[in-house]
């Protein structure tokens, strides 16, 4: 019978594939207030889907104990909630991981604007939903109009209630469907009174505040408008998608200028609404003038917060620095083809505007073709004016200096006064003093100096002498001139100094970036690149750094953290070791390619900030930054700079990796060639002893009678020796095969190194003969976790090697010591073992190559071995998590070192067994 595909199965498979590939669909049930029936509508729709055969589960549904709603929930599979312990109370949260594991087609997650309990993966529920959507799971959710970020202040204005839980507008905008759940205000109030929404007492309070009829009407309008906007957008999309001809205005672009004033957030929200209505892209610009550096901490913070809000609302934020705000704004606006500029109404007093003009005025005056919108800031100051910076001891010192300088002028004038000089000359002397003060000590002291000068002039040099009475009219212009000059010069000086400071800051950043790129350009090899990255990022951001790179199965591991080897340029204070929790965060960052950790909204409980290292072909690793100052990366600019560093590093790492791969490929080819040429060499090495054995044995057989005893003994010895050599050769080849096939199993046990060394020396007893061997192992050397049989093999190979390549009577040395790692983890100590000789040393440049397979120093030499011994050592040591390397010794000879990490907890030799006091004594 013909086998025909089952259409249902086919459909199911298609659905499954679609689910795996595509992003899930988001449907939002949108309402004006609590109680309109969003959850109910959501559940009803869900049941309908379920009847259609869709795999629906309830992720998190808040029924508020409403009976009809609970009844509806009954028929659905419910994902158990995740209980989070927080400050003694247990909070129930949506279990994102369970949902991801369950992988339904459609999931219901109520209350889009919910803020998750501290310690959850994401700060906000909408982020959970994002993750679900990215995983290909469709989501139904609910939200009320007052939770929309851009409407936040409008709602606050209408209702007087500031809503804390907000959702970025784009979350709603990218929803595939928005269903408005509408209910006339009277019906809603009716439901409220019937106790269908809140418990009676709560309901009464609600009617008094939020649920006033006027509020409800206004909220309803907001919700309806919002939905209409959304429909409008869909309509436009539809037109565009179906190529309906229509003239479109050129793409609009909005530029919002924000300042340190208190209305930044309002301005940004207003601009966001405008941008959304215009479907325009929007930029938020802050111009950092030298004045910025003088601003009090809280105002600078406010700028940062405004910029962050803008970023959350989907704006591109830019910080520029310059002298003249208006000029900077306009030139940037022209550069980016901005069509509309939005600015706040000036807040400075009228007289100041008249005197100096305002930024808005000059923007309007010079804007040319660009429209300028000025938005009022009549929201009332919500924050008290910043307190003046406290006077410091330094300032008093400045005044003291001003006093000293002016009185020095008095002294000079006093000396000159006797020669009957013009009064104006005296004024000039004082002027010099005022200028001197102004250039050095700022505005306050220079005003003080000017006043003091006039007083001194008056006191000492005008009649009546030695009084402060003013008879001389010449004094007044002098005072005015001195004051003016003092103020002007001090202002100029301060401004110049601040500009210089700002320029220096920028210069430092640029220089840091330049140095990083330069170092990257001149660095080869992954290790060196990582070292350079860690060093530069740590220094520039005064933070501790960790770089996590994927190893097996895309599992991240901190680079260098495992064995505590950090190279030569990285210092301990530059790095840190992430704990298990933080490694989990890093893993998340790696898998999702998004930033997370401290200071972000995702997994903010982490100790440090984690940033993906994104190269051109995907994420190559994760950068962890533990800032020295906690709020370091709150400033978007610092964060951007860090991002720049991270992306530079990522590209460099990727480049190194590609180079590595190319090298590997090259190596593979070479190895292949080498293997072919060495196959003949190995077969030669195998055949030589066989030939000797065959020859000697056949002589013994055939010519037994004619041989004398000595010759017979010699032949037998040759058979014996060659068989031994063959045995070692075969042993090495077998070990190599085991290593390469991964069949080698390391069975670590804690044991004294001395024992292993002893075993190796015992086994080589005959071989060593009378060679002097020095062993140096401190008696307090701790137990080391190692596989005794394998490490003995390493020592035997190293010693045999030394015996092979060094003169017969030169001494050998074996040394072991505890090596302090360079990393920050004191737990990851290791023991270093050395085998040193006084032979000819290793030819320069061969230090690394001698560990390569089939590599032999002095290729021309006789067949002493196959060149596998050191490769085996390397394999065994690396299987222990250690490293092996070789160097030439000062004073001649070579030294082979390998490390064995002390990982895990050493066993305790319990007290009752360690009898030391109760010494056994013979009777």
């Amino acid at each position: 019978m013909e086998h025909r595909p089952d259409p249902d199965k086919l459909l199911a498979r298609m659905r499954e594939e679609e689910q795996q590939q595509a992003r899930g669909k988001l449907k939002v049930f949108f309402g004006m207030a609590a109680g309109v029936g969003k959850t109910y509508a959501m559940l009803e729709t869900a049941h309908q889907r379920k009847r259609e055969g869709v795999d629906v589960v309830a992720g998190y549904v808040e029924t508020h104990r409403r009976q009809e709603t609970e009844a509806l929930l009954a028929g659905l599979e419910i994902i158990p909630r995740h209980v989070v312990e927080y400050r003694g109370t247990s909070l129930e949260e949506f279990n994102l991981d369970a949902a991801l594991n369950r992988r339904p087609t459609l999931i219901l997650v109520d209350e889009l604007a919910h803020t998750n309990a501290p310690g959850s993966r994401h700060a906000k529920r909408w982020q959970d939903i994002e993750e679900l959507l990215n995983a290909g799971i469709s989501v139904y959710t609910t939200v009320n109009v007052q939770h929309l970020e851009s409407l936040n202040d409008v709602v606050a204005q209408i209702t007087g209630v500031i809503v804390r839980e907000t959702v970025p507008d784009w979350v709603l905008e990218q929803a595939d469907e928005v269903e408005l759940i509408d209910l006339p205000p009277d019906d809603l109030l009716q439901r409220l009174r019937e106790g269908k929404i809140y418990l009676p007492q709560q309901a009464e309070r609600a009617i008094q505040s939020f649920f006033r009829k006027g509020n409800l009407i206004a909220l309803r309008e907001l919700a309806l408008r919002r939905t209409a906007d959304q429909v409008d957008v869909q309509m436009q999309d539809y037109r565009r998608d179906h190529a309906i001809a229509e003239t479109w205005p050129a793409n609009e672009r909005l530029l919002v200028c924000v300042g340190p004033g208190p209305h930044g957030a309002r301005l940004v929200r207003a601009a966001r609404r405008m941008a959304a209505r215009l479907r325009a892209g929007w930029l938020v610009l802050y111009v950092e003038t030298p004045r910025h550096l003088r601003l009090p901490e809280n105002e600078r913070d406010r700028v940062v917060q405004t910029l962050r809000l803008a970023e959350q609302l989907g704006a591109e934020t830019v910080t520029l620095s310059g002298q003249n705000v208006a000029e900077e704004v306009l030139s940037y606006a022209r550069q980016r083809n901005v069509t509309k500029i939005v600015a706040g109404k000036p807040e400075s007093p009228r007289w100041r505007e008249l005197l100096f003009g305002s930024v808005v005025d000059s923007i309007v005056k010079n804007s040319g073709l660009i429209d300028v919108y000025v938005i009022s800031g009549d929201f009332g100051d919500t924050e008290p004016p910043p307190a003046p910076p406290p006077e410091t001891a330094r300032n008093w010192l400045h005044y003291l200096w001003a006093f000293v300088i002016i009185e020095a002028c008095t002294a000079v004038s006093w000396l000159l006064f006797r020669y009957n000089l013009e009064f104006s000359i005296l004024v000039m002397i004082y002027l010099v003093g005022v200028v001197a003060v102004a250039t050095r000590f700022g505005r306050g002291p220079s005003i003080f100096a000017a006043v003091l000068s006039v007083m001194s002039l008056n006191f000492f040099f005008t009649e009546p002498f030695f009084t402060l009475a003013v008879n001389d009219v010449r004094l007044w212009p002098s005072l005015v001139v001195m004051l003016l000059i003092g103020v002007i010069i001090s202002t100029l000086t301060v401004r110049t100094r601040q500009q210089a400071e700002a320029a220096r800051t920028r210069e430092r950043r640029t220089a840091a970036l330049y140095e990083l790129s330069r170092d990257f350009a001149s660095t080869r090899g992954l290790e060196n690149l990582l070292q350079a990255a860690v060093k530069h990022i740590s220094t520039t951001f005064e933070s501790r750094i960790v770089v996590l790179l994927p190893v097996e199965n895309n599992k991240l591991q901190p680079w260098g953290g495992v064995i505590g080897w950090w190279g030569t340029t990285v210092e301990e204070r530059m790095v840190y070791a992430p704990d298990a929790g933080d490694q989990g965060v890093a893993q998340w960052v790696y898998e999702h390619g998004q930033m997370a950790g401290q200071g972000t909204d995702t997994l903010p409980g982490a100790e440090a900030l984690y940033m993906p290292l994104v190269g051109s072909r995907g994420t190559v690793g994760v950068l962890g930054v533990l800032p020295g100052q906690p709020r370091r990366f709150q400033e978007p600019e610092q964060l951007h700079l860090l991002e720049t560093f991270a992306s530079q590093s990522a590209l460099a790492l990727e480049r190194a990796r590609l180079a590595n791969e190319a090298q590997q490929a090259q190596l593979q080819i070479e190895t292949e060639r080498l293997r072919n040429s060495l196959l003949s060499s190995v077969s030669h090495d195998l055949r030589t002893p066989l030939a000797a054995i065959t020859g000697a044995a056949s002589s013994l057989l055939d010519e037994a009678s004619s041989l004398d005893t000595t010759t017979r003994a010699e032949l037998a010895q040759a058979v014996y020796d060659e068989a031994g050599r063959l045995n070692r050769l075969v042993g090495n080849l077998l070990d190599m095969t085991r290593l390469e096939s991964g069949a080698l199993q390391v069975q670590k046990e804690w044991q004294p190194l001395e024992e292993v060394v002893g075993a190796a020396l015992t086994r080589l007893h005959q071989h060593l003969g009378n060679r002097p061997v020095v062993t140096d192992m401190p008696p307090d050397l701790p137990l080391v976790p190692l596989d005794g049989v394998l490490i003995e093999q390493v020592l035997i190979n190293l010693l045999e090697n030394a015996l092979k390549y060094t003169p017969a009577d030169s001494p050998l040395e074996i040394r072991a010591y505890l090596s302090q790692p360079r990393g920050s983890q004191p737990a990851l100590q290791s023991v270093t073992v050395e085998v040193a000789d006084r032979g000819p040393g290793i030819p320069h440049g061969d230090e690394g190559r001698i560990f390569e397979k089939f590599y032999r120093v002095n290729e021309v030499g006789s067949g002493r071995g196959v060149g596998l011994g050191l490769t085996i050592c390397k394999g065994i040591v690396e299987a222990h998590g250690g490293q092996i390397w070789a160097e030439n010794r000062p004073g001649g000879g070579s030294v082979f070192r390998f490390t064995l990490p002390l990982d895990g907890t050493p066993p305790k030799i319990s007290e009752e067994l360690q009898v030391t006091s109760n010494e056994f004594s013979a009777a």
Binding site: A723, P752, G758, A759, L783, E792, V915, F920, A922
Partner: protein, 232 residues
């Protein structure tokens, strides 16, 4: 070759190895019974009760370990097992099952003869039911009766556990003793997997008995298997 010379049973499937063993044993004056398979070997143990068995661990019909177990069910005849390198677990299992010693292939005749001598001597002592009161090798002297340990003319003071450990090794002098065996006899059956105790105590003993603990003369390590106190 007299009837009083010891009778050796060789259980080994490789004819070349048997040939070389035959030659070597004959020339040293031993009498010989050969078996090609485990079944033949077990039968030979009953028909010609040997004084010592040389047993290959890799037999075609039955595991050498199993042969050891079956022989030990009713006989205390010394068994020396032969195995290849890298089969430490098999060796330990055979030793723990009751084998007396082992040899790693390839081995020389000298080694085999030494092991056999030790095993035969121990079995003879067992039959006489008694140890010699004083054990002496090199400069090391252990007086079992007076519980004293001497190195050259110097008395060595040991802790009770160190002494117990040394005594177990002396009782098996020349033979390998597995970690498990030592732990059981010194610390008791509850400690058979706590090999770090053993390693630490052996280390302490070496520091007291050897002039260079990193190049021991008396107390040798059999890597992965156990320890051996030299006796000649």
């Amino acid at each position: 070759m007299t009837d009083s010379s010891p009778l050796i049973l060789i259980i080994e499937d490789e004819p070349q190895i048997r040939r070389f063993l035959r030659a070597a044993l004959h020339s040293h004056g031993y009498r010989l019974v050969e078996a090609e398979t485990a079944t033949d070997g077990l039968r030979a143990v009953t028909t010609h009760p040997p004084d010592l068995i040389v047993l290959d661990l890799g037999l075609p019909d039955l595991d050498g370990l199993e042969v050891t177990r079956r022989v030990r069910e009713w006989s205390r005849v010394p068994i020396i097992v032969l195995s290849a390198r890298g089969q430490e677990q098999d060796k330990i299992a055979a030793l723990d099952a009751g084998a007396d010693d082992y040899l790693t292939k390839p081995f020389g005749v000298g080694e085999l003869m030494a092991r056999m001598r030790v095993a035969l001597r121990h079995s003879a002592q067992l039959n006489q039911d008694g140890n010699e009161p004083v054990f002496q090798v090199g400069e090391l002297r252990v007086d079992l009766a007076r519980r004293q340990v001497w190195l050259a003319e110097q008395e060595v003071r040991l802790t009770p556990n160190e002494y117990k450990l040394l005594i177990v090794l002396v009782q098996h002098a020349g033979k390998v003793v597995t970690h498990r065996q030592l732990l059981r006899e010194v610390w008791g059956p509850g400690y058979t997997s706590e090999s770090q105790y053993l390693r630490v105590y052996v280390g302490n003993l070496r520091h007291k008995l050897e002039c260079n603990p990193a190049r021991p003369r008396y107390l040798l390590t059999e890597p992965g298997v156990g320890y051996r106190l030299v006796d000649e």
